[in-house]
Symmetry: C2
Subunit: 294 residues, 2 copies
């Protein structure tokens, strides 16, 4: 049976790369959507089975648009998390003669990718103009369509495979600690390999008249020895100083510990919304495969 | 003596409006800078005395660029906080004949302002094209320079006063709960009116091998009855899952409670960086003055 995945497009993004690394069935189909809300709505309205969207980056932090749509707009559980290292590739259009870096006149990419390749650009392409475009995949597409121009793109490897470009230099990023977490959401459960790590994510809204409530919330986890791997605040949009907290718990949903913690938080006057319990798949840097430790 | 303030430009932004509301001395001079890092660097390098930058919005959340620059790049204390309501004004170029909304062909503004005036635009300007520009002030400037075009801008009132435009409709925003917190940073202390509210802001880095450390950190405040008004995580950029926490405490720096809490956190292996203790000034919606309760 075909499974369809909406991903944050255009074709050739890191999101597509993450989705294709883990979902490799013959009947897995991937459809690019223009924005994160478009991806999430497509899954919510049943136009696709699942949505794959970025969730957090190790340098840039949480993806607020994903958080806000999950909090305010849609009601889809998180079914899986994919963590992949982010690398940047330099490419040019397929040409008759090779392109020397000294002849390049323009570098196209997304501002974040440009910032993450600062040293390489300073050392090898300081003579070239930088043009910011809406995504790294769009940069590769534009470069591929201007064969006559000595332009280069900085993009994900997925874009190098997607558009007719030639790889000039691999992994030109300055920083090694660049990972992105993607999540898969959908109404139907998802058949996945066994994973070593599981997480549960909840949304907690504190009572507004109870200072110290966050401390009490954390107590509910602490005394049960439940580790939290992330706690992220987002405004409730009802006024300054009111927040939702998105909390990742390093524990699969169970019958005792998590329900107990949730009940305790609710007794304190907090609202608790369950956002999903799911396996986590990690691709190591320099590793070929996602570590599907089964 | 002249005091110079760098603000997030161009002229006519909400940041300028906030700065001019509180700093009204004859010798207060305001200089627009293109980006938040440019503002902060100008104050850090002594080109101006103070920088005024956005810090948090009640709808959009924290301004990550400000957080990241304060955490990673500069070392300037926070000297004051200004909280102002955000309203959106519709204006057109100064023309010979009045402009009817039905004749408007294009609406220029920043994407966030457009999103916040969704209902007004749907009801009154659905026939017009939307053009996104880099700031609301830039929208007003562009509209003012194209007198021949039936264009309108959505901007802050400050921009309506700054550029040669005519106000067409006041306060066209859908949402009321839109406030922005701005902070003033600088090396030299700042002479300010008395304020009713004070805050202290710190940056806490948790030891990486100590799950539950955040709970312990909050305990240090909780048992001292120190209220926290905000806790915001930002990646340390050393890998996924490592965070700094920016914590706002509703308490002026003192000799006993806060130093005790800081020492306790340090004993737990946390790094604590003091970011400032400062008065808070609030402009009420529909109020003319900042509430400088002296």
């Amino acid at each position: 049976m075909e499974r369809t995945f909406a991903f944050l497009g255009p074709r050739g993004t890191n999101t597509e790369e993450a989705a294709r690394l883990i979902f490799r069935g013959e009947n897995d189909a991937f459809r690019p959507y223009r924005t994160i809300p478009d991806c999430l709505e497509a899954a919510s309205e049943g136009k696709v089975d699942y949505a794959v969207v970025p969730w957090e980056n190790s340098l840039e932090g949480s993806v607020n648009l994903t958080l806000d749509w999950i909090i305010h707009k849609i009601d889809l559980p998180i079914l899986s998390e994919l963590i992949i290292p982010i690398s940047h590739q330099l490419s040019c259009a397929k040409r008759e003669h090779p392109l020397a870096l000294s002849d390049v006149t323009k570098v196209l990419s997304h501002p974040q990718a440009v910032a993450q390749c600062h040293e390489f650009l300073r050392d090898h392409l300081s003579h070239a103009e930088i043009e910011y475009v809406s995504s790294t995949a769009e940069a590769a597409r534009l470069v591929s369509e201007h064969v006559e121009e000595p332009w280069v793109a900085i993009s994900a490897m997925q874009a190098v495979h997607t558009y007719p470009v030639t790889l000039l230099k691999e992994n030109i990023e300055d920083v090694e600690n660049n990972f992105t977490r993607f999540i898969v959401l959908g109404k139907e459960s998802l058949v996945l390999p066994e994973a070593e790590t599981h997480k549960t994510t909840i949304l907690v809204t504190l009572p507004s008249d109870f200072p110290g409530a966050l401390h009490q919330v954390l107590s509910a986890f602490s005394w049960r020895r439940l580790n939290l791997s992330r706690i992220e605040s987002r405004p409730t949009k009802t006024g300054l100083g009111n927040y939702h907290f998105v909390i990742d718990i390093e524990h699969k949903m169970d019958d005792v510990l998590l329900p107990g913690a949730f009940a305790e938080m609710e007794a304190l006057g907090c609202q608790v919304r369950f956002l999903g319990t799911y396996p986590v798949f990690i691709k190591k840097r320099n590793g070929v495969e996602l570590s599907l430790r089964s």
